[in-house]
């Protein structure tokens, strides 16, 4: 791999541990009214799988790999775009009393 950093062994474990705590902390103090949009928002964020699927398809050689890679990119794009659209639609509606006239 041509990338500059190598992520393996304990480095991987550290990233995993820290990111896990970040996820836990971020959700921990959120009011229940935002649970559905937040689930939808986190659903959008794992849409980053699209990037991985693109790399997988980009490196695919045989027709079988290309087919699976194509399906992967298709599904990943659906996850990212769909997740964004529904989350944005939900969050757009949250308003306070004073700006209800707008």
């Amino acid at each position: 791999m041509d990338q500059i950093i190598q992520i393996d062994g304990f480095i991987a474990l550290y990233i995993f541990m820290l990111a896990g705590f970040v996820g836990h902390e971020i959700i921990g103090k959120v009011p229940a009214i935002l649970h559905t949009p937040l689930m939808s928002g986190s659903n959008f964020i794992h849409g980053i799988v699209l990037v991985g699927a693109m790399v997988a398809l980009g490196r695919a050689v045989t027709p079988l790999e290309q087919t699976i890679g194509f399906i992967g990119v298709f599904l990943g794009a659906g996850n990212a775009v769909g997740g964004y659209v529904v989350t944005e639609r939900m969050l757009e509606m949250f308003k306070r009393s004073k700006d209800k006239k707008s």
Partner: protein, 458 residues
């Protein structure tokens, strides 16, 4: 541009994307900033996607563009069109797609026979397994909530079957890891994992589905993280892990709000433990809309308890209109929301927000419960089990111990309800039989309109 510079650009962009995701998710944690949060996270996604085209050593660009275009357009249109009440199943669908994509990455890596060493082999297979389960499981959840498949299939030995499939999947996984380059075992492994997702989800009832969707959301996150390790992609690792952890916590909060343990949701049907129910004494007493209108217009404090029934009747706009009329008459009106009102925690808030109700008069169960005692009227519209006092009083009831809204403490309780039947769980509601309770029978939207007329005519 040489390869090293390209790699630097990619690494920096992925780093920025990870920062934007976490920052965006953080901002989504408060209603004030939530809208901006998703936009930030979206910017991160666009950046990461665009920069991936620069990845060294890739081909198949045309296929890639077509796949992104197709998936993106279909998801865009369906996402724009879906009604707010159908949001849970759409989230399930998009989540399943993400799981499927993670499984596809694993499949390409495994079929390609790329030798990553033992650790990465294990991670690839594990991610593929979790992703595949999340994919087929989410699709079943989607089909169930969408109403394609309403029946909840249960049979004797179901748990045994699931266990057999699980064990065989794991056995195949070990073979795939230890003996690469065996196409057939890889295929069997994925088929088994997909089957497990289906057989796991089919027996779970519709009421528990939100918990399951949230669980699969966490699954997909984890699968993405694992495939991120395999591909050495830090943005995938961080985003996937954050979602995995956040999703697990969210799943627990939801299960707790519904008074179920996760194991309970996954491995047993609701109400299987039902014993003899205690007889409820008293009768349901009907009332007219005009009387309720007078009662509310001259009240000091009215608490409205909406349930999913209100959304089904599309009554939320009328209810908000009624609320505005009452507020104009200086009545203190608040909405009391149970954590599982609607189809998943927070769903009711979304539905009320759609109708234009500002979020600062909407209160959580633990914020509002102490206020019922001082309320003149508690208006229950389309809610049932979440205001059933037997959850506090009757240990033999299947909902015993579930946190409820204390509507029975209000001076007057008005229940808008279609007919005399029991609620979603099939349990009689003791609240309906109390002395201070009056039943306003009829369709939610029609009754809300009549209440508006009644208040206007005063």
């Amino acid at each position: 541009m040489n390869i090293l510079n390209m790699a630097l650009i990619i690494d920096v962009s992925y780093f920025l994307a990870a920062v934007l995701f976490i920052y965006g998710l953080k901002r989504m944690g408060s209603p004030m900033t939530a809208r901006g949060g998703i936009v930030w996270a979206g910017a991160g996604m666009v950046l990461a996607t665009v920069v991936t085209f620069l990845f060294p050593g890739m081909s198949n660009y045309i296929l890639m563009m077509i796949a992104i275009g197709l998936g993106g357009i279909i998801a865009w249109i369906s996402g724009k069109k879906v009604a707010m009440t159908d949001m849970p199943q759409m989230i399930a669908l998009y989540n399943g797609m993400g799981g499927g994509a993670a499984a596809a990455i694993a499949a390409v890596e495994l079929y390609g026979g790329n030798d990553h060493g033992l650790t990465f082999g294990i991670l690839a297979v594990l991610g593929g397994f979790i992703g595949a389960v999340s994919f087929s499981g989410s699709l079943v959840a989607f089909a169930k909530l969408q109403g394609f498949k309403n029946t909840t299939l249960r049979f004797k030995g179901q748990q045994v079957l699931n266990l057999v499939i699980l064990v065989s999947t794991l056995v195949m996984a070990v073979i795939v890891i230890t003996q690469p380059d065996t196409g057939n075992t890889i295929s069997i492994f994925f088929v088994l994992a997909l089957a497990l997702g289906i057989t796991m989800t089919v027996p779970i009832g519709g009421a528990d589905m939100p918990v399951v969707i949230s669980l699969y959301n966490a699954f997909t996150g984890l699968a993405v993280a694992f495939e991120g390790f395999v591909q050495q992609n830090p943005a995938m690792i961080i985003a996937g892990t954050v979602v995995g952890a956040a999703g697990s916590l969210l799943t627990q909060l939801m299960a707790k709000a519904m008074n179920r343990s996760l194991a309970n949701v996954l491995f047993s049907g609701f109400g299987e433990t039902t014993s003899e129910e205690t007889e409820i004494n008293g009768s349901m007493k009907p009332i007219d809309a005009s009387d309720v209108g007078v009662m509310m217009a001259f009240a000091n404090k009215v608490l409205i308890v909406p349930g999913y029934g209100m959304a089904v009747a599309q009554a939320q706009h009328k209810v908000w209109e009624l609320t505005q009329l009452l507020i104009d008459r200086d009545v203190d009106v608040k909405f009391a929301i149970h954590p599982v009102a609607g189809r998943m925690p927070g769903h009711m808030n979304v539905l009320l927000a759609e109708a234009g109700v500002p979020y600062d008069i909407i209160y959580d169960e633990n914020e509002i419960n102490s206020e019922f005692e001082s309320a003149d009227v508690a208006l229950i519209i389309g809610a049932n089990d979440v205001v059933n006092p037997v959850a506090r009083s009757d240990p033999s009831s299947p909902i015993y111990g579930m946190p409820i809204l204390n509507a029975d403490y209000a001076k007057n309780v008005i229940v808008i309800k279609r007919g005399q039947g029991a609620g979603f769980s099939g349990i009689e509601n003791a609240l309906f039989f109390l002395d201070q309770t009056r039943m306003l029978y009829g369709d939610g939207q029609k009754m809300a309109s009549e209440l508006i007329q009644a208040v206007k005519s005063l």
